[in-house]
Symmetry: D2
Subunit: 337 residues, 4 copies
């Protein structure tokens, strides 16, 4: 931590700051500039992490230098982490595509979706059995029945399953049916759920919160890793901005940021990221070119009658065309689909 003193700070103000640091077992390292004095705080990282100095007289502001996360950091683990789901590797040479409907509605719907996404090259079937919805009057999902249908349709088509958890009490149940557990944007800082997922044996896909900074997102992953589960996959799905033409603003620079700061894989969700099916194709291509490790895309056999998010779902035919385009770009990026 750096403490910047006010230009008007007195010698006494400075002494009190130094004294407080020393009381806490920390050391102060002074830089006297032309206008202001700066105090570098040296010592135990955890003590510094909890240190607050802004209310001391003569202090202009404090600046934190180091991030609090460790295990997610590339400094801590320089090589890329590869997460294995059966014979599929996320974060390796493969570009892993997860596809399927927003909500699980029926076995027919899922079977049709599963066949379509499998034949186009997807490796995972996605679908929501527990849905976090803005309004209590919206469809909340089929629950365990939905999980069963999802598993069945996936197994029939040799696909893995990814589905969302919205309640920590459901983790054990979901583990029975799903290969990867998804944490949605609204639960990215549901710390109790993150802690519980730290005890899971299944990989966790951690979506970025609607207004989460890169730093907060990394810290959220740290909750899972410190709990003992090191299989975390990030998922960029758009952030909330002033723009209203798109549902969210898909921040593809997050792919580059995560690759720089962390060793964990990152995939992209262009469906929620834009909220418009016409934009899924260009943004999926862009995500691959930005260097992501995979994609999660909404595909519905009949989006016009979908129970949720039909506006952003691709029809199977469009999805198949998109996969063709992605293969070419993935190849340039040294990836195979």
């Amino acid at each position: 931590m750096i403490i910047v003193m006010k230009p008007t700070a007195t010698k006494d103000n400075l002494n009190n700051v130094v004294k407080k640091l020393e009381t806490l077992g920390l050391r102060a390292h002074l830089s006297e500039g032309e206008e202001v004095t700066i105090v570098g705080v040296i010592g135990d990282k955890k003590t510094i992490a909890n240190l607050e100095m802004n209310m001391m007289e003569g202090v202009e502001k404090t600046i934190r230098i180091t991030e609090k996360y460790k295990m997610v950091s590339r400094n801590f683990h320089p090589q890329n982490t590869i997460i294995n789901v059966g014979d599929i590797e996320i974060g390796g040479d493969e570009l892993v595509v997860m596809a399927g409907p927003c909500s699980v509605e029926s076995l027919d719907q899922l079977r049709e979706a599963a066949r379509a996404v499998k034949s186009a090259g997807a490796k995972f079937l996605r679908g929501g059995a527990f849905k976090p919805r803005t309004s209590p009057y919206d469809f909340q999902g089929l629950g365990e029945e939905g999980l069963k249908l999802l598993r069945q349709a996936a197994d029939e088509n040799d696909l893995k399953v990814i589905t969302e958890v919205v309640d920590k009490d459901d983790i054990a149940l979901i583990e029975n049916y799903s290969d990867v557990i998804q944490v949605g944007a609204r639960n990215m800082q549901n710390f109790q759920m993150l802690k519980a997922l730290g005890k899971s044996k299944k990989p966790v896909l951690l979506k970025r919160g609607l207004s989460a900074t890169i730093s907060e997102w990394l810290n959220a992953a740290e909750y899972i890793m410190t709990g003992g589960n090191e299989q975390v996959i990030f998922c960029e799905r758009g952030i909330r901005t002033f723009e209203t033409f798109t549902r969210n603003t898909l921040d593809l620079s997050a792919v580059a940021a995560i690759k720089e700061l962390s060793h964990l894989p990152i995939i992209v969700d262009p469906s929620h990221g834009t909220g418009r099916w016409q934009m899924v194709k260009p943004m999926a291509r862009a995500a691959v070119a930005a260097g992501c490790d995979g994609l999660i895309i909404e595909v519905h056999p009949n989006p016009e009658i979908a129970l949720s998010d039909g506006d952003q779902s691709l029809k199977p035919k469009n999805f198949a065309r998109l996969m063709e385009e992605l293969k070419a770009i993935a190849e340039i990026m040294g990836r195979k689909i």
Copy 2:
């Protein structure tokens, strides 16, 4: 819902839209303008709520006209709702002030805080026993031990208690110690917790999410109300914007918005809303002048050694001065402290 057709939409496109609506039991009401045709959708509200039409050919966009929430709405319940906590009325003539430290640290700390806020005129003691923290390495709170200390210090000073729940499994425990249960910003769309709080007999203080719109916030309260608990108090605590000088941007227009749209009370948290103790005083005054029903303010007997959020906590002396100023403004607003 209004469906706006493209200028290039064909007669067939329009017919298909109308046919889909009729299939769902809805009626289409057409307005042919000079450039575009607009389709008004009339019929069952729930069916319309789940309707998605953007992927139909010839459709430019759809616009939702009505909000999904009902019970929280002033249209549904024109008079102000008053929430009783013992002999205290929130949303009535009284301006209710809740104050205390961010985290419960010790009995001494709480006793000193409780005495100070009581003598200045506060009616509730606030303090966190379960803390939602960005990093797993930060202090996570004292848990049930903290709840006990909070209750004891409040009882000794004839204060009510408000404290935060971060896990739905803790609701029953917290009900034993607290008069009002607080839902933090990060849990505003933790829908499982909201549903569980719908079964509680205690009033719920629902903080606004960091990037929650007014509409989403009202829908979150609807989750609690539809569960059976009609005692919801809103709390504006700052939203996330591009500005970095303040920790959040306190949106006082939310007070006027909630008063217009809902019958439920709203209080303001100028401490988290600004993150700077110097700003708590002017923003607390402004909140009262904007018409809020109460305030929740961080007060710490010794903010320089606080375990969390010391930077935004007032010392007892400053809090007492603030209360004097608030009394004068409250009086003009027809309120008493």
Copy 3:
């Protein structure tokens, strides 16, 4: 400036950083922490202001410690600046209210507005003769004819005039008719216009840009002051956020921020800040309680037929009622209207 080295930085990396600083005549002050080394940069402020170090090998990031503005800063000029417009003092004991229609439309309209705002206690007549409009097809203002009407209606009612400049070529013209020159939000960083206003003898009201930080706003004012015109008044008018219920998010914490960082006066525009006439009243009261030096409010004798921004304009009767409420709050704040 503080330079934070990477944990993996080599001795050579550090030497190169130090060497570059010394070449530029700066001094490096090293703090070796447990994890990272931090380099404090000491020396000529201007050299440091233009220094960029992030692309040097081994550098993690750089942090700027000091702001670039000087003349606007309270450190530079601790006492509040009072700006005199005839016998009116902005920034002194008076709470100065400026009111009138968004656009100048006719002499009748202005006369009616001027009489109404004068009798309610306003000191300035506001009105736009040159309008910055999002679309080229929107009404662009009456130009010089509008300025004449504005001056006439103001003079007949013993009011001062404030009006907006949208083109630096119009400054001389506007000086002939207006007592204060307004810079709109979209021109806050029109640096050529700011430089030209630095040569004006008239006070400048500088509205905050839609996405301007407090720091950028202060720097924009510095452009005017370094040009020689020290009469700058800030005006908070709402920032752009994700919220769509209000036209902008009025950031009243900006009042406290400007009061802390600068000696210049600040007023608030609750009309543009909310975009809804129903919210002007509560937000105007809140602004005064937050400590602003004045208000600028849209009042239109007949908002239902206004050529612009009728949705956010008060009728004269509502304005008069608001002024009554403001007087009471101003008194508590030690101000008179």
Copy 4:
């Protein structure tokens, strides 16, 4: 326009709304739903554009259906517009890359940059002679001398020139030296400058404002086109959000949005869009894959001593490598560099 009446609106309220519309020569088309009545407004587009109804009693809200821009719209001009700059086509089969330093500093610097970007495949030399800077103490550019150097270095290397205008009085001067005139983000709504550029014979590159919506950006281009200059190129350069890791948030979905709504070309600036040279490469690739028509990239022979924006500039060697990668992706997109 759609007018949504309140559930509590009376018959009289509705009659008054209809009467007002009819007085203005407009027609009202009523849809009576279960809860609310909706009024569709039909008639002259310009009258509707200026219509404001929110202040009428019984009105809940108004919703604008149609955008105000015409000439920029793809509805108005379905085919892609190609802009010719000598033998270069922007918006056609070519992916046009513009590169060079942020600021013009010296002939040596420009020559070195020009040679490097030319040999890597760029078609334009970029460089600022007039710089819009946040602080008046920052380097403001070399002015006309800079324009001369830019033209000379470009001519020696058979490159076109693009440079920024910050003052409408400089347009004629810049036309003498530059092939394309750039409008920076801070001037996107400097409407007087846009009007003046409407009279220019040179193509205009219109950067998106820091907080400009897609709609506002299109309207800004409409100002130039209605002035008579139909050669407008959009440039996405990052928007302002809450994220601080990057300087801005590069919104690549804007590429898809502009392609859908307009016939004009769009290029992307990954240098300002991220503010970090490490991110330029992945985001440039992503922009091409998203379907942009070109890129503008900062390249400096020696970014470590650049007078501005060195942190986001590529060294010539890195730029050459990037161009190799871009060629492969452009090919897949059916483009050549």
